[in-house]
Amino acid sequence: MTASTPGGLYGSATGAGSLPSSSPEPGSPGLERTIARLLTGGTYVSIALLTIGLGLLLAAGVGPLSGGPAFDPASLVGDILALRPAGFIWLGVLVVVATPAARVAASLIGFARAGERPMVVIAGLILVVIVVSVALATGLEG
């Protein structure tokens, strides 16, 4: 079986929702490409940060199973400037967690430009869920 090419994927300046899905749309694949690059870029940046942090960790002779410091946003910049492994690793973890949300935000913009209101609403609701998650977790922590 060869890989399918779903017609529902293709962007359309006139709104893909009104076009039949049985045949591929002629619209630009720009949105998918942009999102793909965003995902890839975010992943590479996070992996680079994690790799630097792991390198510093091993260079300092600290074992990965020794127990790392808890996440503290206030010390993040200071840790990075001081070349402490935890700073780079935590920043990498933050990029990991934020990249999917950034993908949804980019999708929202792309769908808004294409006039696909249902997908704009869906993307907006996903971001609302993420914001609620942060708010509730912050409340639990407090």
Partner: protein, 281 residues
């Protein structure tokens, strides 16, 4: 140093299989960290969630470039996985692990049964969706104008999305499972899309990869802010997952579908057995 390399190697294997099968790798990472490195289940889940997001980012980018992943379908369903993950992340620290392990062992065994590579009628319908036009479209009322245009927009050439409501319900369950067990939820999402919604397996796997990121993020935020993610364990494991997922996403299209399904079933059954053993230990 040795521990770091072992974590790295374990992550490579988990990322490779996760990318190939749309599992996210979490189903392998949690046993690796708990049984192999002595982490608590909660700690392992926190690290695993970070790893499955990395898996998703590495693989989904490739799948989107190749237009295998269905972006609109993925985003529609991930709204429900995110809601489930949010709820699961909030109750993860309140539920007895033994009960969950038993439930999910049964669930994994059931999913393995549904995906077992054989000439079953459900698979035949999916491979030839037009041959079953009488299947009721439970999601038709969700369409933008009552004419099915929204459903059509989620469908692709050669397949028509059906039973969107069931797919949404299954996605909520996938989100809960993701938050509680540190998996990407592909174990549930792929069969739901493939068997229930009529999405070809390869498209379902790629779309599941796309959805895993936001699903895991919704609960990873909770684990992160509750201090349940160990950065020193997360770094080597996530790097390994990234390497494995990068390789897997580039060779997935060359792998025979029957082998893919066979591997899927084998991993499901193995994980179910592990879950059962933990529960009755």
């Amino acid at each position: 140093m040795i521990d770091g390399l072992l974590l790295l190697g374990g992550g490579v294997l988990a990322g490779l299989f996760g990318s190939l099968l749309g599992l996210g790798g979490g189903i392998l990472i949690v046993p690796l960290l708990t049984l192999g490195f002595g982490l608590t289940l909660i700690q392992a889940v926190g690290v695993s969630l970070i790893c499955v997001i990395v898996t998703s980012g590495a693989a989904a980018g490739v799948y989107l470039e190749r237009r295998v992943a269905n972006l609109r379908l993925g985003m529609t369903l991930e709204l429900f996985t995110a809601i489930g993950a949010l709820g699961g992340g909030l109750i993860a620290f309140l539920i007895e692990e033994r009960v969950l392990e038993l439930l999910f062992a049964a669930l994994l065994a059931w999913v393995a049964y549904t995906m077992f590579p054989r000439a079953n009628p459900a698979s035949a319908r999916v491979l030839a969706p037009d041959a079953d036009p009488e299947v009721p479209d439970a999601g038709a009322s969700l369409s933008t104008g009552g004419t099915g245009t929204f459903i059509d927009g989620l469908s692709g050439p050669g397949y028509q999305i059906r039973r969107l409501r069931l797919g949404a319900a299954g996605s909520v369950g996938a989100g809960v499972a993701s938050a509680l067990l540190g998996i990407g939820g592909g174990l549930i999402k792929v069969p739901v899309m493939h068997v229930v919604m009529g999405v070809p397996l390869r498209v379902a796997t790629a779309t599941s990869n796309l959805m895993i990121g936001i699903t895991a993020s919704a609960s990873a935020i909770i684990y992160l802010l509750r201090g349940e993610i160990d950065p020193y364990v997360a770094a080597p494991t996530a790097i390994g997952v990234f390497l494995g997922a990068s390789v897997g996403s580039r060779v997935a299209h060359r792998i025979d579908l029957r082998i893919l399904r066979g591997l899927f079933v084998a991993i499901l059954l193995y994980t179910a057995w592990q879950m059962l053993q933990r529960a009755i230990a």
